[in-house]
C-alpha cells in the first residue's frame, strides 16, 4: 500500500548582526568561552533587555523577500524553562504575535531518478524573532558540565513552514532555497557548520488523501546530507511501525549521524509547559509603514524574479535559471559576464555552470574567491562569438586566465591561438592535403564518408589547430567533392 510523506520545517537562521539581540555583546563565532558574555548575557540580577534594531530590520527584510505580512505590532514573550545554558530561566521569543506572518517561497525540486524537475510553492506560516541559548560543554570537565554563554542572546529568526513538503527531495529543496534566500538578502551568513542555519524537520506519513498522521520532530539538523538521511530513516521507521500495527507517538527525536538513525529524545507527555506570557521588560514591537518602505528600497532583486527574467527574457531553461541563482554571487557573476556578450546568455550560462563551477569545485573555492573576473570571462566569450578563437582555443585561454591571470586578448596573442579564417590560406592548405593523399581522396570519393574526419585531422594539424573549424569543414567538403 502507498504512503504519503508529509513534512514541515522549522528553521533557525542566525541573524548577521554584530551584537546580540538584547545587548551590546559581540556575536562573533569562535571566541574563548564566556568572553562575549556581558551582564545581560549572563543574566545578572537587575539587567534588562534592549532590542537590537538590526535584528528587526533583518526580520522585515525576510518578510519582504517572502511576500509576507509584516506585523505592525508584534509582542515578545517569555518561554520559561530551566536549563543551565539558559541564563534567565526563560528564552525571549515571540508566541501569539510574530513579527512576520504568512508568506510563500517557490522552490525548484531537481530531477530524482526518472522524475522530471518541477517547481512548487511552499507556504510559510510565520517567522519570529528570538534569542539563542548558550552551550553546555560536557567534555573536559571531569564529570561536570561547562557552560559557555557566548552564544546566549544571539538573534535568531525562526522560520516555520506549513506541512507542504511531500518528499525528502522537496524538504531539501525548500531548505536550500531558504538557505539561498537568507544569504541573498544578507540577513544570515548561512554557515551550517557554525550553527547559523539549523533545521528542525517535522515528519509524518499518511494514506494519500487521508488525515494527517502523528508527527515526530527531528531536531537540529545542520547539513542537507544529514537531513536527507534523517528523513529517509524516519519515514521508513514510521511506515514500518504502522505496517506492523504500531502507532506513532508524538515526539522529539535526534538524528545520530554515526548510525544514521533517529532516536526519541522526549515524548509529548514529557513536553514542557513553557508558560508563555508577554515579556514586561519589552514594549510591543511597532513597525511603521515608513520603516518597511525604507527597507524595501534597499532590497536586491530576488532569486525568483531573476529566474523568471532569465527564462522569459534570456531564453534559459528553468534549470539553468535556478542554478545561476543558487547564490547572489553566482547570479552577479553571470549578469556581469553577460554584459560582454548580451546575445549569448546560453553560452554564458554554460561556461559558468560548466568550466567555472567545475574549476571552483576542484580548487575548493567559493564564487567570491573566483580567480577570474566576469570581465575576463566575458572578454573570452566575445572572442568565441566573433570567431577569433575556437572552443578548444577558448579552453586554453580559460586555463591560462585561471592560473596566471591576464585578459583574453593578451593570452590569445601570446599563445598564438587566433583562428585562421583567411579563405585563401585555408584553400591552399586543403589543396596540399588533397595532392598528398590521392589514394584516400579516391576512397572518400568512392563513398567512404567516414574518411572526412581523417581529412579534418590533417587540416587542423596543418593549421596548427588554428583553422576556423566551420570554415575549414566547408572548404574540405567542397574540395573533396571534386
Amino acid at each position: 500500500m502507498q504512503w504519503e510523506i508529509v513534512i514541515g520545517l522549522e528553521i533557525h537562521a542566525q541573524l548577521s548582526t554584530k551584537t546580540k539581540i538584547f545587548s551590546g555583546a559581540s556575536t562573533a563565532f569562535g571566541a574563548e568561552p564566556n568572553t562575549q558574555a556581558d551582564a545581560v548575557s549572563i543574566a545578572l540580577p537587575g539587567v534588562l533587555p534592549v532590542l537590537n534594531k538590526g535584528a528587526v530590520e533583518r526580520a522585515i527584510k525576510f518578510g519582504l523577500a517572502t511576500g509576507a505580512h509584516i506585523a505592525p505590532r508584534s509582542v515578545f514573550a517569555r518561554k520559561n524553562y530551566f536549563y543551565p545554558d539558559l541564563p534567565k530561566g526563560y528564552q525571549i521569543s515571540q508566541m501569539d504575535l510574530p513579527v512576520v506572518g504568512k508568506g510563500e517561497l517557490t522552490i525548484h525540486v531537481p530531477a530524482v531518478g526518472k522524475e522530471q524537475p518541477y517547481e512548487k510553492v511552499v507556504r510559510l506560516t510565520r517567522a519570529h524573532l528570538e534569542e539563542d541559548a548558550g552551550k553546555s560543554l560536557h567534555e573536559d570537565f571531569h564529570g561536570m558540565t561547562g557552560i559557555d554563554l557566548n552564544r546566549a542572546g544571539t538573534p535568531l529568526l525562526e522560520i516555520v513552514s506549513e506541512p507542504d513538503m511531500r518528499s525528502a527531495a522537496e524538504a531539501i529543496a525548500y531548505a536550500k532555497s531558504l538557505h539561498t534566500l537568507v544569504r541573498w538578502i544578507g540577513i544570515c551568513d548561512g554557515n551550517m557548520q557554525e550553527g547559523s542555519f539549523r533545521c528542525d524537520v517535522n515528519v509524518s506519513v499518511r494514506r494519500p488523501g487521508g488525515e494527517l498522521g502523528t508527527r515526530r520532530e527531528i531536531k537540529n539538523l545542520n547539513s542537507f546530507k544529514f537531513m536527507q538521511q534523517a528523513i529517509d530513516y524516519e519515514v521508513q521507521w514510521q511506515i514500518d511501525t504502522l505496517e506492523n500495527g504500531g502507532k506513532i507517538q508524538q515526539a522529539t527525536v535526534l538524528f545520530n549521524p554515526d548510525t544514521g538513525e533517529t532516536r526519541s529524545m522526549r515524548s509529548k507527555e514529557e513536553a514542557h509547559d513553557y508558560r508563555y506570557f508577554p515579556d514586561p521588560d519589552l514594549l510591543p514591537l511597532e513597525i511603521g509603514k515608513e520603516w518597511i518602505e525604507q527597507l524595501r528600497a534597499t532590497m536586491p532583486e530576488l532569486p525568483r524574479s531573476k529566474q523568471l527574467r532569465y527564462v522569459n527574457e534570456l531564453g534559459l531553461s528553468a534549470y539553468d535559471a535556478a542554478t545561476l541563482t543558487a547564490s547572489r554571487e553566482m547570479a552577479d557573476f553571470f549578469e556581469a559576464t553577460l554584459q560582454a556578450v548580451p546575445k549569448d546568455a546560453k553560452a554564458c550560462a554554460n561556461w559558468i555552470m560548466g568550466e567555472v563551477s567545475a574549476q571552483l569545485n576542484r580548487d575548493n573555492l567559493e564564487m567570491p574567491q573566483c580567480p577570474i573576473t566576469p570581465q575576463q570571462l566575458g572578454g573570452m566569450l566575445s572572442r568565441i562569438v566573433d570567431g577569433t578563437i575556437s572552443n578548444s582555443g577558448a579552453k586554453e585561454v580559460f586555463r591560462t586566465m585561471w592560473s596566471e591571470g591576464g585578459a583574453a586578448d593578451e593570452i590569445i596573442e601570446a599563445k598564438g591561438l587566433k583562428q585562421v579564417s583567411d579563405a585563401g590560406a585555408l584553400e591552399a592548405m586543403v589543396d596540399e592535403i588533397i595532392a598528398a593523399n590521392a589514394d584516400k581522396v579516391a576512397e572518400y570519393r568512392s563513398g567512404k564518408d567516414k574518411l572526412f574526419g581523417f581529412f579534418v585531422g590533417l587540416a587542423m594539424k596543418a593549421s596548427k589547430g588554428k583553422a576556423n573549424p566551420a570554415q575549414m569543414n566547408e572548404i574540405l567538403k567542397k574540395k573533396l567533392a571534386g
Binding site: I42, A43, P45, N80, P84, P87, I147, D273, F277
Partner: protein, 484 residues
C-alpha cells in the same frame, strides 16, 4: 543636624560649615549605635562611604558641587551597586557582590552623593512588614515591637531614625508608600517609567518603580531630580524632557480639586486612621482646596488582580536564581534537577516560594486565560477608573494603609491579612500612576498615619507641591520617634 533638610545640608556643605566626611562619619556612628537594635541596614562599607565623602569634599572644594553632593543616602538593597554586596534581602544573594551599578546608583554617584549602606527589605521586595527578610526583622523606630512596613522597611526605619539624610525605595504594590506611612516619613512612587529599572532587581517588572523616601516633600523633589530621566538600558523608561520637580513647590493650593474615592473610606479602615486622614482633608480645605466625591469601582479587585500578575512576573523573573552562575548553590546534590531544587529550596524563603508557586500556576497551560489574561483585562478597567476620576479632580487622596503599624509577628501566619495592608496602594501600581504618602498625624496607639496622594500621569511636581504646602502648614512630618 539630624533634622536638617537636604537643602540645608547642601548649604552647609557648600559653605564648608561641615564636610561630607564629617557628615558621613556622623551617620556611620549613629548607625553603629542604633542599627543593632533597628536592623535597618543589611550591609555597611564605611571605607567606601568615606572614600565617596572625600571625593565629594574635593568636588565641593572646587565649587563643582550639585544639590546632593556630599550628602549621605542609604540605598535599598534591591539596587545593584558596584563592589557592594547586593542581597535583595535573600539568602539566595547572601554573597553576591554586584559588578555593576544600577541606573539609580550611578545617578546618585554622578551627583556626588555618598552611599551610606544598603537597607533591609522584604525578601525580593515581597512583603508588607519587612518580616520576610533573610537578614532579620526591622523594627519600627516609633515602637520597637511594631513592624516598619515593607518592603522598603529598612529604608523607612533608617530615614525615620535619622540613620541617613534620606534613602531610596522601590514600590511594586505599595512598598514605598506603606512603610513611609507606618514610619511617619514621606515617600514617592513616580509614574511607571520615570525612573529607570536598570540594575534594580526585578520583582514584578510591569509594576516595579523606584522612588525617594525622605523626611519632607521638598527633599523628595531634590532626590527625584537626580533619580528620574530617560535611560536607554530600560526599554520601559520613558523618553521625556528633564524636569525640575521642585519648580512648583511654592505654588498656592487655591482651587485644587481633591478627589476622595468612597471605596477608600469604607469597611476595613481603622477609625483612628480615618480620623487623621479626615483632619488632613480639612487642612487642605483651609489651604483652598475643594473636595470632590469620586468612585474607583474596580479598585476592590486590585488585590486579587495584583496577586495574579505580580507573582506571574515574579515566578519568571526569579528563574535566573538557579545556582548555576552566581548566588546560592546547594552544597550537595545528585543531578541537575536536584541542584535546582535544593539550591532554590534553600535559597528562597517561604513568601518568595509561595509567590513563585502562585505565579507558576496562573501561567500554566489551561489556567492562563482564566487567571493571567483575565487579570490583565481587569487591570485595564482599574486604570480606566482613574482616567474617569481625573476628569473631575486634580489629585486623589485617602489613607495609605488601613491601619497604623501592626506588631511584629501579628500577621505572620496569615498572608491574606498581610496582603490587605496594601489595599489602597496597589491600584496605583496597576494603573502605573504616581503615588505618595506623607505623615498626617498619629493613631490611637501613637503610631504615625500616612496620607496617600495619587496624581495623574507625570504629575509628580504637582503632587510634591500639594504635599509641600501641607507640610508648610503642619508639623507631623518633623516629629521624630522618642529616643532617637
Amino acid at each position: 543636624m539630624i533634622n536638617s533638610s537636604l537643602k540645608q545640608l547642601s548649604g552647609q556643605l557648600a559653605a564648608k560649615k561641615i564636610s561630607s566626611v564629617e557628615l558621613t562619619q556622623f551617620y556611620l556612628d549613629r548607625i553603629n549605635k542604633l542599627n543593632p537594635e533597628l536592623n535597618a541596614y543589611i550591609t555597611l562599607n564605611a571605607e567606601t562611604s568615606l572614600g565617596q565623602a572625600r571625593a565629594a569634599d574635593a568636588r565641593l572644594a572646587q565649587g563643582k558641587g550639585e544639590a546632593l553632593t556630599g550628602i549621605p543616602f542609604a540605598q535599598k538593597d534591591i539596587f545593584c551597586a558596584k563592589g557592594w554586596r547586593t542581597t535583595c534581602g535573600s539568602k539566595m544573594l547572601e554573597t553576591f557582590v554586584s559588578p555593576y551599578d544600577a541606573h539609580v546608583i550611578s545617578q546618585f554617584n554622578n551627583a556626588g552623593a555618598v552611599n551610606l549602606g544598603k537597607t533591609n527589605m522584604d525578601e525580593f521586595a515581597m512583603g508588607s512588614s519587612n518580616e520576610t527578610s533573610y537578614f532579620g526583622k526591622v523594627k519600627n523606630p516609633w515602637n520597637l515591637k511594631a513592624v516598619p512596613g515593607g518592603s522598603s522597611g529598612g529604608t523607612a526605619a533608617a530615614v525615620a531614625a535619622r540613620l541617613c539624610a534620606a534613602a531610596t525605595g522601590t514600590d511594586t504594590g505599595g512598598s514605598i508608600r506603606q512603610p513611609a506611612a507606618l514610619c511617619g516619613i514621606s515617600g514617592l512612587k513616580p509614574t511607571y517609567g520615570v525612573v529607570s529599572r536598570y540594575g534594580m532587581i526585578a520583582f514584578a517588572s510591569s509594576l516595579d518603580q523606584a522612588g525617594p523616601m525622605a523626611r519632607s516633600a521638598e527633599d523628595l523633589a531634590l532626590m527625584l531630580n537626580v533619580m528620574a530621566g530617560f535611560d536607554e538600558r530600560d526599554s520601559t523608561s520613558l523618553q521625556r524632557d528633564k524636569e525640575d520637580y521642585s519648580r512648583s513647590l511654592e505654588q498656592p493650593l487655591q482651587g485644587l480639586r481633591i478627589g476622595l474615592p468612597r471605596e477608600f473610606f469604607g469597611e476595613g479602615l481603622s477609625a483612628d486612621v480615618g480620623k487623621a486622614v479626615a483632619a488632613a482633608i480639612d487642612e487642605y480645605k483651609k489651604l483652598g482646596a475643594t473636595i470632590v466625591d469620586i468612585s474607583l469601582p474596580n479598585s476592590r479587585l486590585s488585590i486579587p488582580v495584583y496577586y495574579v500578575l505580580a507573582p506571574a512576573e515574579a515566578s519568571s523573573n526569579l528563574s535566573r536564581f538557579d545556582g548555576v552562575r552566581y548566588g546560592h548553590r546547594a552544597a550537595e546534590y545528585g543531578d541537575l534537577a536536584q541542584m535546582y531544587e535544593k539550591s532554590r529550596s534553600e535559597g528562597f524563603g517561604e513568601e518568595v516560594k509561595r509567590r513563585i508557586m502562585i505565579g507558576t500556576y496562573v501561567l500554566s497551560h489551561g489556567y492562563y486565560d482564566a487567571y493571567y489574561l483575565k487579570a490583565q483585562k481587569i487591570r485595564r478597567l482599574i486604570a480606566q477608573d482613574f482616567v474617569e476620576a481625573y476628569k473631575h479632580c486634580d489629585v486623589i487622596m485617602g489613607p495609605t494603609s488601613p491601619t497604623t503599624a501592626f506588631n511584629l509577628g501579628e500577621k505572620g501566619d496569615d498572608p491574606v491579612q498581610m496582603y490587605l495592608s496594601d489595599i489602597y496602594t496597589i491600584a496605583v501600581n496597576l494603573a502605573g500612576l504616581p503615588g505618595m504618602s506623607i505623615p498626617c498625624g498619629f493613631g490611637a496607639n501613637g503610631m504615625p498615619v500616612g496620607l496617600q496622594i495619587v496624581g495623574n500621569y507625570f504629575d509628580e511636581a504637582r503632587m510634591l507641591n500639594v504635599a509641600h504646602q501641607y507640610q508648610l502648614a503642619t508639623d507631623h512630618h518633623v516629629r521624630a520617634p522618642q529616643g532617637i
